[in-house]
Symmetry: D2
Subunit: 345 residues, 4 copies
C-alpha cells in the first residue's frame, strides 16, 4: 500500500534529520534563546527580504493560528475566513476557546474575496449587539489546493487596510503555493501585503514546526508571552531553529515544494488526459479527481487516499496529496492504474 | 409619536413597581438569600409543577444564556441554534467569549428542527478535529414571533435525549409564546422536555430580570458560583424576587402576556384584511407586515417601529411589537392609519 | 432586629424611586440610547469636570470590573491588586474567567502602595515565562473602610505612568470615600490620576448600577461592545440613566454618602470612648470594632452584622456598616447597648 | 564551557534518535492514529500496570497541564498548587488563560501537604463569592528537586478523595523522582493514587513529548478533542509514539534517569564533603549548593548554571542539573574545581 493521504505521512527531509543528529549532543540554552535559532531567523528574514520582521517558531499550525489570532484580537473582536477555512473547519474551536468568534463567508474556489469580507462587515453591522470583525484570515495554498494570485491578495490587502482589518495568512502549505506554476507571489510580497503570516514546515520537509512572521515588529512586541501562554514554546527551541535553518539554506524549502507540485501536476495531467474530471483547479500538491465508486474501490486496494466529497450517487471526489517525500515511481504506478481503469471502460 | 419598536420601552407593570416601593425600606440579606426571593421561587415552582426545580434569578437574557451555556458545556463543546438565533445574532459573541462555538443551522419559520440538529451532527463528524456539539438552544417565541407546538418541542427533546444533547430553551418571550392562541405547550411541559430554560421578565412586566430553571437540581448544583462569576448575581437580589413574586401571583405574568398577544392579533387581523402581506406567521406579540416604502415613510411620521428586512426594491417588512404596556387606543389608531393607506390606493 | 450588615440592604433613595415611577410609562429607546441616559452622563461629566470622558452604565460592580479589565488587558497580561482586593477575594474568579491572572501584593491598611506594585513587577520578572503585569486595580474606599489620600493616589499614578501600567479605580464605595472627613481627593482628581474608574450606585442610593468612566475616550472606544459581550448592557438602559441622573442632581450622591459617614463616625467615636478597640482606622461607612465573644452574642440578639475576623481566642472584629438609609435612632440604640456592655464590665 | 543549566540542553537519547531515523520514510496515518503510537501506549500501560488507562501524547509540559486542567475543571473551579508550583510560577498564566484560577498555598521543601490543601479550602469558604477549589496539582520531582514519599502522596490522595478534589501529578521529572535513592513510589502507585498524571519525556531522553495518563478512561473520554483544541495534537503523532516506545523498551526511561541521579548524587556528596551547604535536600537530578559570590564568579568561567536564589549579602544558592546526557568526566571536573575552591580557602 502506498499513501497519497497527506503531506505529513513521513518524517523530515534528510538534510533536516542530519542536522538534528549533528546537533544532538551540543548544549543549547532553552526556549529558542540559542544561536541556531538566531541563524534560522536571520535566514528567513533574508528570504523574505524584511530584515526587521519578528519571527517566532512554534510547533504546529493550530498553535500558530491560535497564538497569533488571540494575540492580535481584543475581547469583542472576530476573525473572518472563507467557508471551510482551517481555523473554522479543522481546529476544534481553538479560536473560540480563546474567546473569539470565527466568521465564515462564501469564497470562490476556496479563496476569500473582498466581496466576501464586505459581506461579513454587512452582516455584522448592528453595533454593539454583534462581534466586531477585526481580522481577515486567508490560507495559501487554500484547503482545496488553489492559490492566491498577486492581484487577488493585493485586493484583499487593500480592502483590509481601507477597513482597518488586520490581514493574517496561514502558510501551512506556503511552499507548495509559492512554487505553483501559476503563482506570481513572493515571500517579499507577503511581508508587504499582510500583517502576519506563517511559513509551514510540518507539511514541507520538517518533522514539525511553523515560522510565524510579524512583518512590523511593533505590531505585537509581546508575542513571546503569548507563545508561552498558549503552550507553543518548545523547551528545546533549537530543534525548530535547526530545521528551519536547513530548509532555508540553498532554497531547500522551495526545491522540495517544487518536487511535490511537479508530481501532483504529472498525476493531474495524466488523469485529465484519461478523462477524469476534477473538483477544483489545483496547481499545488493536492488534487481532487472525481472517480466512480467502483474505481475508488479498485484504487483503495493499492493506495491510501482520502474520500473528499460525494459528487452524486455514483461518483466521489477523492484527494491525492504529494509531498517532498513522494516517490515518482509510485506516482507513475498510480497513473498507470488510473489510466487502465478508464481504458478498460 | 407612539412606539411599537419593542416590548421593553416602558418600565414595569404597576403591581411590580408598587411591590418594589413597599419593600424599599425593608432590610434584606444580600445576593438573593432573602425570603422574598424564596417565595418567588416557590411560586414559580408551583406554576411549573416541579417542586424540585432549581431556580436562579439573573438580570437579563444575555446573562442567562452565557451563564447557563458556559456552566453546562465543557471546554471543547458547542451549542447548536437556528440561523438568526439570539445567542448567535445579537449577543456580541458572549458565548464565544466563554470559549464555546455557536453552531447555526437552517430552520423553518425561525424554528429549529431535528433535521437541523442532525445536520449539525453530520457537519461536525470529524472527531477530534471539530468541536463537539453538546447542547441545543431554542427560543420560544422565536426571533420572528413563531412558537413551538408541543409535538415539535417533543420531537426536538426526543432527538436530544437520543443523541445525548442537552436542551436549553430561551424564554425571553415565553409569556407571549405560552399564551398564543395556537399554543399547546405549558410550563410543565417545558420542565419535562428541556434540561433548562428561562422565563423572561424584562419583556413581560418586570423592570428587568429572568428566572433560570434547572429542571433537575442535580444537573448543575454549582450554578450559584457561575451566576456570580459571570457578573449576574444582583447585590439586592430581592429586587428580582419581588418582581417575579408579583408576576407569578394570580397568573399576572400570563394575563399581561395575553394582553400583548391580543393587541398584536387585532392589529395583524386588521392589516391582513386590509390586504397587507406578512413576513412570517406570528401568533405572538411581534408581527411583521410588508409595506411599501411610501407607506413606511407615512407611518414613520406618527409611529416608531423597526425596519426588519427589505423584501424587494419597493417593499420592506417592518416589525410592530406590542407589550403588557401597549395601549389599545394606539393600536386602533395605527390600524386606522394602515387601513386608510390601502383604502386610498 | 436591625441590620448593620451592609450598605445594600434597602432599596433606593426616595428621589430615585420617584423618578423611576415618573418615567415608568414613558417610552424609551432600548439599551441606553435614550435622552435620560444622555442627561445623566452629562451631569456626571460636569461633576467630574471632564467634558470628554466616556461614561458607561452597568448594573453591578463585578460586571464593571470584569468588563473594564477584560477590555483593557490583552491576552498574556495581568492586573495587580492588594491582598483582599475585591476582584481577588469576592468575585468568584470573574477576571480569571476572562483569561487574566489577578496578582496580589501586601498593602498597608488595605491600601496598595508603589512598593507593593514594585514587588509584583519584581516577582514577575522572568519574561516570557510569567504573565505580564499591565494594570493596577485599587478601591476607594478600600475593603476595610480606609481611603486613599491624594498624595497616596498621586504616588501610585506616577508609578503606573512611569512603568506603563494602566490604573483603574473601583469606586463601589466612592461616595463614602470622597465625603470622609479626612479625604482630600475629588472626582476631578480621579479623572486626572487614573485611566478609568467607576462610581458606585448600588451602595449609595441606587437600586443598582455603576457608572464606568474612561477619562480619555480614546483609551478604549469599543467598550460598548464589551459591555454587551459581558452581559452588562441593560435592555431598559434608561433605568440606569434615571437613577444616576437623580443621584447627580443637587449633589444628592454626596449628601447621602455624608449621612452614612456621619452615622458611622458617631458610632465609632462612642465606641472608642467606651473603650472598644478597632481593627482599622476607618473614616468611611464601615467600622470594625473588636468585641468579646460574649459581647458579640449579646449584640447579635438585637442587631445583624458581620463577623469579620477572629482576633484571638476571646475576641473578634465585627463590622458595622451604615448607609444612606440608616436611621440615626437605631445607631443611638446600638451605641447605648454597646456602651452599656462596657459600663457593666 | 560545560552547561549544568538544565536537563533539556541536548537532544534525544541515541536509541530515540535512531528510531526516528529508522521510521523516517515509513508512511504513517496522521495525528497519532498509527501503530507506533499504539505500541508505545501499550508499553506504558504495562509499565504502569493499568491496562485500561487512557494515554495521550502531547509535545510539552505546559500543553499537558493546560489541556488536562482545562478539560477536568468546569467554569468556576480552581486548581490548588504549592507556592512556586510550575503552573503558577512558570507557565505565563496558561491556566488562567483557559479561565481558571490557580490557588497557591505554602508547602514543605517544595511539597504540598494535606494541611496546605485544607488551608485553600478554608480560605475559599465563602460560597459563591469565591472560586471553587476542585483539583490539586502536585509535581514529582518538585521544583526544588525533592520527591514525594509514598505515605505523603497517599495522604494527599486520601485527603483529595475525602474532599472530592481531583488529583493531578505533573511528572516533568518523574523519571528522576522514581529512581531517586529514597523513592518508594512506583508508576503503579501513581495510577492508584492520582486521577491523572503525565510522564515527562522532554527532560529525560526524548527530543520532546509528555505522556498524559488518565487512570480511569471514564474520567474524561473527550480528552482527544481538548488535545486538539489546545494545539497539542501533533500532525506526525508517530514521532511521539516512536520516542516513548523506545523510552519504555527495556526500562530505558528509568535507566537513563538513574544515570542523571547518580551523577547528581556524586556531585552533591563531594560538595557536601568539601563543606558546601545546600538550599534543599534533593535526591534527584537538581541540586542547589550555596556558594560565595567569588566562588560563583570563578565557576562561571568554566560552567553554565543557574543563579537560583540569593541567601545573604555574600552567598547565593546556585542550581546544577544533570541529565541522561551528562558526562561523568565533566562532573568530575566540576567536583575537583569546587573542592579546590574550598581547599584553597
Amino acid at each position: 500500500m502506498y499513501s497519497f493521504t497527506c503531506d505529513y505521512s513521513e518524517g523530515a527531509h534528510p538534510n533536516v534529520l542530519k542536522k538534528l543528529q549533528e546537533l544532538n549532543y551540543v548544549q543549547h540554552p532553552g526556549y529558542g534563546e540559542d544561536t541556531v535559532t538566531d541563524e534560522a531567523i536571520e535566514r528567513i528574514r533574508q528570504s523574505i527580504g524584511n530584515p526587521k520582521a519578528s519571527i517566532y517558531f512554534v510547533i504546529g499550525g493550530t498553535q500558530a493560528n491560535m497564538a497569533v489570532i488571540s494575540a492580535l484580537l481584543r475581547t469583542p473582536e472576530a476573525v473572518i475566513c472563507v467557508e471551510g477555512g482551517h481555523i473554522f473547519a479543522h481546529e476544534t474551536g481553538a479560536i473560540e476557546a480563546t474567546g473569539h468568534r470565527v466568521i465564515t463567508v462564501p469564497g470562490i474556489q476556496g479563496k476569500l474575496t473582498p466581496a466576501g469580507i464586505q459581506k461579513a462587515l454587512d452582516d455584522y453591522f448592528m453595533r454593539p449587539h454583534m462581534v466586531k470583525p477585526a481580522m481577515v484570515y486567508v490560507s495559501d495554498a487554500t484547503e482545496v489546493g488553489t492559490i492566491y494570485k498577486k492581484a487577488e491578495l493585493q485586493a484583499i490587502s487593500d480592502f483590509c487596510r481601507a477597513h482597518k482589518l488586520l490581514l493574517y495568512l496561514d502558510g501551512a502549505r506556503l511552499g507548495s503555493a509559492l512554487t505553483a506554476e501559476d503563482n506570481d507571489l513572493t515571500l517579499h510580497d507577503l511581508t508587504e501585503l499582510t500583517d502576519a503570516f506563517y511559513i509551514g514546515g510540518t507539511k514541507n520537509g520538517a518533522l514539525f514546526g511553523e515560522a510565524i512572521v510579524f512583518n512590523d515588529p511593533k505590531l505585537y512586541p509581546d508575542f513571546d508571552y503569548v507563545r508561552k501562554e498558549r503552550g507553543a514554546l518548545l523547551a528545546k527551541g533549537w530543534l525548530l531553529g535547526a530545521q528551519f535553518g536547513e530548509l532555508f539554506k540553498d532554497d531547500l524549502y522551495f526545491k522540495i515544494a517544487r518536487h511535490a507540485n511537479m508530481l501532483a501536476k504529472k498525476l493531474a495531467s495524466a488523469l485529465k488526459e484519461a478523462g477524469y474530471d476534477f473538483l477544483a483547479e489545483s496547481t499545488t500538491n493536492q488534487i481532487f479527481p472525481i472517480v466512480t465508486k467502483e474505481e475508488m474501490a479498485f484504487l483503495a486496494q493499492k493506495y491510501v487516499f482520502e474520500e473528499w466529497q460525494p459528487i452524486d450517487e455514483h461518483r466521489t471526489a477523492i484527494r491525492f496529496v504529494t509531498s517532498w517525500a513522494t516517490d515518482e515511481e509510485h506516482v507513475d504506478e498510480l497513473i498507470s492504474d488510473c489510466v487502465a481503469l478508464r481504458t478498460n471502460d
